[in-house]
Amino acid sequence: MSNPLYNKDIISISNLSRSELELIVSTAKQLKQYPSPDLLKNKVIASCFFEASTRTRLSFETAVNRLGGDIIGFPDSGNTSLGKKGETLADSVKVISSYCDAFFIRHNQEGAARLASEFSSVPVINGGDGSNQHPTQTLLDLFTIYETQGTLDKLQVAFVGDLKYGRTVHSLTQALALFNCEFHFIAPSVLSMPDYIIDELDAAGCKYTIHDTLDPIVNSLDILYMTRVQKERFDETEYQHMKSSFILTAEMLEGVKDNLRVLHPLPRVDEITTDVDNTPYAYYFQQAENGVYARQALLALVLTNKFGDQ
């Protein structure tokens, strides 16, 4: 038995097909339902965070532990040869990959994971490279959407907030475009979705709308994906003005569909008020928990042949 992701690098969502995304989601569901504590027994996984992270590192390392694997690595580059002695990333990767069975990397420069995959002797999983890709976040988002909706197909999905700089919304839009979802983009004009994503949607024949506020579309949504508008990008007056349009309150959710779920990659600051937490629509903390299962699924598929039906 084999699967198409066995021994494969996971660098960019754009390299994954619809069927591969579905395989990851179904494997995450299976591992959430039926834990597999010995799956990675005797496997050593390198967890190399050249840039510090909280949720991504802790959920990845939890995923390895829950599958019975061993972890080597570091939480930031401060005490590494690369950080202190000026070693190239290429040399670091050559050495570290000779110690382990898989290599999870986060780095503050775009393209670092792709480069690592070219010098590594073992599969590389991208845990975020600068402003470029963060595929494991997208995979946990897809798993969460599937878990809450029972499908990924033809959903009404809104993205709110910083759509220009948020790599999360770019990758998730690209992935959901494979499932014929309809998109609604709500953002300040200076933080609107980049042209290259809009061009891709046009080329794929996907439907999308652009709005200034949530009001016109909120009652038709299945998924409401909030992101943080970074205060430092605006002066205080502009920021205060935007607050009313791009902050979600419980009151704004009156009349929405029962199956609506609110997601957020976290950390949130004040773009979702805490009264939303107590509504049945809030799902962002379960979403963060699902990061463990999505990363378990990736590890299981990349390192073993025990999942998939091929």
Partner: protein, 152 residues
């Protein structure tokens, strides 16, 4: 009235013809042609057969290989290259936009990992409408081809 060639003929070398007007100077600059010792003639806004304008470059004792011709395609996709020997055209070919270009341009993204690691830059090239875009293999960002001639 008989039309007359307004740029002097060359004995050996290359004539790059059918360059879109305005691109001739950029090509000279990009290939650093004017920094060598060879004699170069450049014609700007010359009349073309179809009634429009074109730029033209003649370089003595220099032959463009296919790789250089493909780079040229990024700036002048309609250009033709004529190889001249003894004042005769011995070879003529059109430039073709390559699918990928390696080790030529530096990625304009200052935070791209390819800038400070032991790898060649790599760009996948896509033509959309009238634009030619180069997508970095590493940082995955796309740039209009015109940006590279300005950065060079």
């Amino acid at each position: 009235m008989k039309k007359q060639l307004t740029v002097e003929a060359i004995e050996h070398g290359t004539v790059i013809d059918h360059i879109s007007p305005g691109q001739g100077i950029k090509i000279l600059k990009f290939f650093e042609l004017s920094e060598g010792l060879q004699r170069i003639s450049i014609g700007l806004n010359l009349p073309s057969h179809d009634g429009s304008c074109k730029d033209l470059i003649k370089i003595e004792n220099t032959v463009f290989d296919q790789n250089q011709a493909n780079q040229l395609a990024l700036f002048a996709p309609k250009a033709t290259i004529n190889v001249i020997e003894n004042f005769e055209v011995v070879k003529k070919f059109k430039v073709a936009i390559p699918e990928r270009i390696t080790g030529v341009f530096t990625c304009p993204n200052s935070n791209c990992i390819s800038l400070n690691e032991p790898v060649d830059s790599r760009f996948d090239i896509k033509q959309a409408k009238s634009d030619i875009k180069l997508k970095c293999h590493y940082c995955e960002k796309s740039f209009l081809s015109g940006l590279f001639s300005e950065l060079h």
